[in-house]
């Protein structure tokens, strides 16, 4: 049964909405409150009400005002509406974040920090609480390497600022929390297929169900293959190196399997992924345009988690886990003759965590303890034929931690959230990290948060042990954790249920940053040498209308300077602006999702500039063509803007050109 209800006058006036989407924030502020004069729904019967479609307020109104940090949330609906292909796409749409690519991996910048050479080690990536950052490189995989298909994401919560007081190492600039969908979100089969530019195809098959006894199961597998494109690199423009053209050398393929079973508070998760990526940039001095150059990244997950109640006001959660990360690569070098060099890594770890959350009088207390044994942290580098080993390191290490957090009301309008964590590493010893948040809510719609905290990242196995005289590096002895001290003020205000603004100002003081330098003897070595200061301000507005039109716009300003030289950091844009706008079309059958992302100019490693750019992405989505069918068409970089990201130390290229306009067609079918 379809019920036709009178349409609101005020909220759907085209000109009001247009000015709003034109980004004139003041005019947005002036639009009248929504939904007051809706039809009298109380006239409807239960059966009629059951068939009314609503737009969900809850996904928008997550109580981010209560979180002791500046939080962004991206939902499964956003992923559909904006045609996101990877976690990198999701993160790139958020306030103050930016993603760069070297056509091998993708790297996320947070609060002005995305140094060429780093491997996403300063954000912590959790999938349902499972730590993704591996035990060798600390990498938070945000590209195709991630074991969870982006379609299986229910929501992503990005918590900015230091998170070490709860999460320990890597929660340096922020924590990315990915929450997966549940079996009951499917209750049956789902198949998805897509075709995209550069000869890219992808398929996914998912089964999910909730059984009568409450048990839930979710199984999914994906496969993708991309033939790649021809890319021109001016640095190699000579007849010996194919006139600078790398022919389909950025090909790639990946596959993953994900399974989740939950019953009576227990959740068993297992996953495996393998991603092969061709490298067109001739990185690490390898031979240009060689079809054999590639990297292969694999992840393995086995995790048993429990969440339950010990008493009326005491919750217990915990997990035991196994994780594996395996890296294999081929880089041909012209010795001469051309020799294949293999760089490999095996990281395996297991561990256990427990957390108690209890309400004691007015205190909401959290106690936690963690243990992780990195029982394999191996790396090897060798030539295949003639066989010659340059590096063969085998290591293991342990870490353990305890933490406590208290959330205490200091009266009607003021709350204190205080946390402290102690981490101990078998490699570098102990570190304490506190966090204090004072949250003032003068009225329910408004929150002012004063935040102070420190965070750290322990040196990883790669930084400590990847050295070999024949590779031009020497052992990095005496490395200590790098640290950040952060001060932030966040103001959030919710004008109505579906309209909120937030702003924050912060300062990060980074010390003992682990950086690779070339020592006086000519060898590369990692040292705790970087001291940086970052200042920034962010502003964001989010609004949803009664017909489920949605707008999110943000602007971030940041400046990051080295305290030693006074110069600004490489690959650190001063300005970032984002706009996401999605709306229903032709009734409710279609939706359009439009994204704009602006990144200002950045300094490159050679001291040149990667020019500013703005790109637009557009996705059209239809969920009503047939029962259970969802189709979408996306155009990425709609205006075919040419732009480049700064190269990394392993590149001859100072600038690496990015994709022009590209397309994707996708269909999802439930049965």
């Amino acid at each position: 049964m379809v019920i036709v209800l009178p349409v609101l006058a005020a909220d759907r006036s085209p000109c009001l909405r247009l000015t709003a989407c034109a980004g004139a924030l003041l005019l947005v502020l002036a639009t009248p409150a929504s939904a007051e004069e809706a039809a009298d729904l109380t006239q409807l019967s239960i059966e009629e009400l059951l068939s009314v479609e609503v737009y969900s307020a809850s996904r928008f109104a997550q109580k981010t005002t209560e979180a002791p940090a500046a939080v962004s949330i991206v939902t499964a609906a956003d992923i559909r509406n904006y045609g996101y292909r990877t976690l990198a796409d999701i993160l790139g749409s958020l306030r103050g974040l930016f993603v760069t690519s070297d056509r091998n991996y993708r790297y996320v910048g947070v609060r002005g920090f995305n140094r060429p050479g780093d491997y996403n080690s300063r954000i912590l990536l959790l999938v349902d609480g499972i730590r993704v950052n591996d035990a060798n490189y600390d990498t938070a995989s945000i590209g195709n390497e991630l074991f969870l298909d982006v379609d299986l994401i229910d929501r992503v919560e990005v918590v900015r600022g230091p998170g070490s007081s709860i999460y320990g190492s890597n929660a340096f600039f922020g924590v990315v929390n990915v929450i997966s969908k549940r079996g009951r979100d499917y209750n049956g089969w789902e198949a998805a297929g897509s075709a995209a530019s550069y000869g890219t195809g992808k398929g996914r098959l998912t089964y999910g169900r909730q059984l009568d006894n409450g048990a839930e199961i979710l199984l999914s597998t994906s496969y993708s293959d991309s033939r790649g494109q021809n890319l021109y690199f001016p640095e190699f423009d000579s007849p010996d190196t194919n006139n600078g053209i790398a022919r389909k050398r950025d090909h790639g393929s990946y596959q993953n399997f994900y399974g989740k079973l939950s019953y009576a508070g227990f959740t068993l998760t297992s996953a495996y992924s393998e991603s092969t990526q061709g490298v067109p940039t001739a990185s690490f001095g390898s031979v240009f345009n060689d079809p054999r150059t590639q990297t292969v990244d694999s992840q393995a997950v086995l995790d048993l988690a429990y969440a339950g109640k010990l008493g009326e006001r005491l919750d217990l959660s915990g997990r035991v886990f196994y994780g594996g990360y395996f890296y294999d690569s081929v880089f041909p070098y012209d010795a001469p003759p051309v020799t294949l060099n293999k760089d490999q890594a095996w990281a395996e770890w297991w561990g256990a965590e427990a957390r108690l959350v209890g309400q004691f009088d007015r205190h909401k207390l959290v106690f936690g303890a963690e243990y992780q044994d990195n029982f394999r942290q191996d790396m090897k580098n060798y030539d295949q034929a003639p066989y010659e080993v340059y590096l063969d390191e085998q290591h293991s290490s342990q870490r353990q931690a305890v933490y406590i957090q208290d959330d205490l009301p200091l009266g009607e309008r003021l709350r204190l959230n205080a946390g402290l964590r102690y981490d101990h590493f078998s490699t570098v010893g102990g570190t304490w990290n506190p966090r204090l948040a004072l949250i003032y809510t003068p009225q329910p719609e408004t929150a002012v948060k004063l935040l102070y905290g420190t965070a750290f990242r322990a040196p990883n196995a790669y930084e400590m042990y990847y050295s070999s005289a024949s590779l031009g590096s020497k052992p990095s002895v005496g490395l200590e954790p790098e640290e950040v001290t952060s001060y932030e003020i966040v103001v959030e205000h919710q004008f109505q249920a579906n309209f909120r603004v937030s702003a924050s100002v912060y300062q990060n003081e980074i010390s003992n940053l682990i950086s690779q330098i070339t020592d006086t003897d000519g060898y590369n070595v990692f040292r705790n040498i970087g001291q940086f200061k970052a200042n920034g301000a962010e502003f964001e507005v989010e609004r949803a209308w009664a017909d489920d039109t949605r707008l999110r716009a943000s602007y971030a300003w940041q400046i990051t300077r080295s305290q030693d030289t006074g110069t600004t950091l490489e690959n650190s844009p001063r300005h970032l602006a984002k706009l996401n706008y999605s709306m229903p079309l032709f009734g409710e059958a279609w939706r359009a999702g439009m994204e704009l992302q602006y990144t200002s100019a950045r300094k490159t490693l050679a001291g040149a500039r990667a020019g500013s750019y703005a790109i637009a992405n557009l996705t059209l989505l239809n969920r009503k063509l047939a029962e259970g069918l969802e189709v979408s068409a996306s155009v990425y970089n709609l205006f075919d803007r040419h732009y480049a990201d700064p190269g990394r130390p392993e590149h001859v290229e100072d600038l690496i050109g990015q994709d022009g306009r590209s397309f994707r067609l996708k269909a999802v079918y439930r049965f």
Binding site: V54, Y55, R313, M583, Y598, Y613, A616
Partner: protein, 183 residues
């Protein structure tokens, strides 16, 4: 750089305008308005004790911070049989036994067990919209399924309040048993 940036943006906004004009306003409704209308209906499907039936008003209390309160304002004065709705925001220390319907916001999760304990024996219909609340002892709990509002009922919880929920309502609800219960 600047000028080349502006032109695509202008085209983009033009495209947005065109898209907008193509768009016919759709009619999904605010989630909480629909929930409020459901609450209005629930009152008709509950067998209230005679003392309450005789009253000229029905008190809808809202506990905690959330979006239900604003939507519930729309019920004020509307009639269920002979009784008109009174809509009252309350705190956890208020005398909740005076309410006929108590809507518990998600913000009250910590206090829920204590709250429900305190209500034992009072003829109060508890309603919420947070996952797992029905299993914890709230009588009617909303959830969303494919953008439609659905609800689950915990008949044992209603029974403890001395309220009988009509079979017509039970028929369209998902029935929730309490852990360890015999439902």
């Amino acid at each position: 750089m600047k000028t080349s940036l502006n032109r695509p943006l202008a085209i983009l906004w033009a495209a947005l305008l065109a898209l907008y004009c193509a768009g016919v306003p759709a009619a999904p409704l605010a989630e909480y308005e629909v929930k409020a209308a459901f609450v209005h209906n629930f009152a008709k499907y509950v067998e209230w004790p005679a003392a309450i039936k005789a009253r000229s008003s029905l008190r809808l209390c809202i506990l905690g911070q959330g979006q239900f309160a604003e939507a519930a304002e729309g019920l004020r004065g509307k009639r269920v049989g002979g009784a008109a709705w009174e809509v009252v925001p309350v705190g956890s220390r208020s005398d909740l036994g005076e309410c006929q319907v108590l809507f518990i916001e998600a913000s009250e999760a910590d206090k829920l067990p204590r709250l429900l304990d305190g209500l034992k024996g009072s003829p109060v219909l508890t309603v919420a919209d947070s996952e797992g609340y029905a299993a914890q002892g709230v009588a009617i709990n909303f959830y969303l399924e494919q953008n439609k509002v659905r609800f689950e009922i915990n008949p044992a919880a209603a029974g403890r309040a001395g309220l009988k929920i009509s079979s017509q309502l039970l028929k369209v609800a998902r029935i929730v048993a309490e852990p360890g219960g015999r439902q």
